[in-house]
Subunit: 335 residues, 2 copies
DNA sequence: ATGAAAGCGCTAACAG
DNA sequence: CTGTTAGCGCTTTCAT
């Protein structure tokens, strides 16, 4: 070994000459690319940026870099993009796109690449996952509403092929049963996307079934909640005067809406950080698949209040406007 | 050459065996990684996700993949992350972090790597850039307000070391001069970040100088506009009853705020798409640095209306609350 | 035309 | 312990 100061000098000169070690070449030899794939369903969905940020920051701190791929909610893309990532010799993969039964997840497991699911997981929990405690989240909303005196509570859920939507729906049914509330089929509607348009249409379905008046709605997602507000508007219902409403996810700016939305805050940043750490650990050495479940908390706005004695309730269907152009493009969302 | 069908068969078998060409190895030989670095200042700022999405989608369509790095607004990180990206043999670099005089941009130019700036550019425009036409944007807002009858208009700008903030500020001064409006120093304030907190404090400075009443405010960014709303609230001013307000960027959900914000929509997606295309072109062959300037458009909400005959105006400073904890963490924003 | 061989930049295994 | 060499998977060049 040469003296430390000479070594330092060499390094200095190397830097000055603009030498940068080529990690691709070294990776060719060591089969380590120090690169991780991150596949998300839709960057535009406000849920994901903070997660990605957490992932990226943590990876960078460990000398890794993120290959970002946005599937645009298309499973064809998912497939193709993942193949591209794998070909690029990524050391591991973080998927934010998982469905409850997910072909791609199975393939990746078969492939044997270190894999971590974030935000959503699969039914068979044999994959490392970092998710929100959705049951707790719904419980927080439910208890909050019941505490305010609500007894007839409706539910607007998301696509049941995602673990988040499914868990939230199940949690609602369970809590309602435990609390001794009659769970009427009419009072729940699951939409096929986590979007405002889908939420609006779900709430419309509930209201169009002319149920006995209910005083509160729990939704599985903030965007769905926004859609409910649109539906309320159509039917001449006021929030929170006639109906209380809760969201889920605490998307930015929700505290600046007409009624500030009461919602469930999930630790997005930490979700990303923990996912990255879990993956790095797995890359280091074989590990048994863990599921990390982070605790959400309730953020109270003013979209919830005690039920009113003289609730206004629509006598008939609203006059349909020619076309509600509020949501021109159906952008598929996610949670 | 063997027959086409045999070639096809071989490819099929190769796929079935799970063969994926290793682009790292081929890149070692060809000095093409088919990889592009994307450096952004803060993923959490709602301006960037759609830009990145546009970039990522376009790159993917051309067989490229994005190495995403989030500098968290720190220039040390910028430096380090960029070095990491360059070492990884990226074929090109997209920077969304540029300042008007940007050391890093100069370095990258010296390095000779294909470079495209997006959203913001540098003063010496010798770099390929895809930006918004900020002068036009401010003109749209200005003309809208003047058209409504406003004559005394204030301006809240952003950090003048970014081209966006600088252009918007200059455009405002120019338009005011051309329209023959007296431009009082008191009526303009540039904040040091594109955040709600910075906007609030800037508007507070203006109001605390006790200027002759003004009837409208143009801001250089939606988040700054939100901060202005907070300041209005502190001073007992109503928007739009007492003061009209315009934003800039058309951030999502701005159309659901208390007063729906009148703002300037810039084509974020296209910004990303065009930046990616410009970079790919440059990677293909040496090209003269172009600046692409995309056209924004006005989105009218109800934060703007004709000036009121009986405008309410604060007689004294507001009673200071112990501390406005509205913005606990100062998160540096960007535009 | 077809096939063998060299080498991209690096590291790990190997002699010296 | 130090210095040399082979080879990661691919492309390109050079013989055949």
């Amino acid at each position: 070994m040469v003296s430390v100061e000479v070594a330092e000098k060499v390094r200095d000169v190397a830097r000055k000459l603009g030498y940068l070690r080529n990690p691709l070449a070294s990776g060719l030899r060591t089969r380590r690319s120090h690169t991780v794939g991150v596949l998300i369903p839709d960057l535009t969905n406000p849920v994901f940026p903070p997660i990605i940020r957490g992932i990226e920051r943590t990876l960078a701190a460990h000398g890794y870099v993120a290959l970002l791929a946005d599937s645009g909610n298309s499973s064809k893309n998912k497939q193709a993009l993942t193949e591209g990532l794998l070909a690029r010799q990524i050391d591991g993969l973080i998927l934010a796109t998982a469905h409850r039964k997910d072909k791609l997840v199975e393939k990746c497991l078969d492939f044997g690449i270190p894999l971590v699911l974030v935000n959503r997981t699969v039914d068979k929990h044999h994959v490392a996952s970092v998710i929100n405690d959705d049951e707790l989240g719904i419980k927080l909303a439910f208890d909050h509403l019941v505490g305010l005196g609500h007894r007839r509570i409706a539910f607007v859920g998301g696509p049941q092929n995602t673990s988040t939507a499914h868990e939230r729906y199940r949690a609602f049914l369970k809590l309602a049963r435990l609390a001794g509330l009659a769970v009427e089929r009419q009072l729940t509607a699951n939409s096929d996307a986590f979007t405002e348009a889908a939420g609006q249409s779900a709430m419309n379905r509930i209201l169009a079934s002319h149920p006995e008046p209910f005083t509160a709605v729990i939704t599985a997602n903030d965007l769905l909640a926004l859609g409910c507000l649109d539906a309320f508007h159509e039917w001449g219902l006021r929030c929170p005067a006639d109906i209380s409403l809760t969201g889920f996810n605490h998307v930015r700016f929700m505290d600046r809406l007409k009624p500030r939305l009461t919602t469930i805050q999930i630790p997005h940043d930490e979700l990303g950080v923990r996912a990255a750490l879990l993956l790095l650990e797995q890359i280091g050495k074989e590990t048994a698949p863990t599921t990390i479940r982070l605790k959400p908390r309730l953020v109270t706005g003013d979209s919830t209040r005690a039920p009113s004695k003289n609730q206004r309730w629509p006598a008939a269907d609203p006059v349909k406007a020619p076309r509600s152009t509020r949501h021109p493009r159906a952008v598929l969302g996610a949670s």
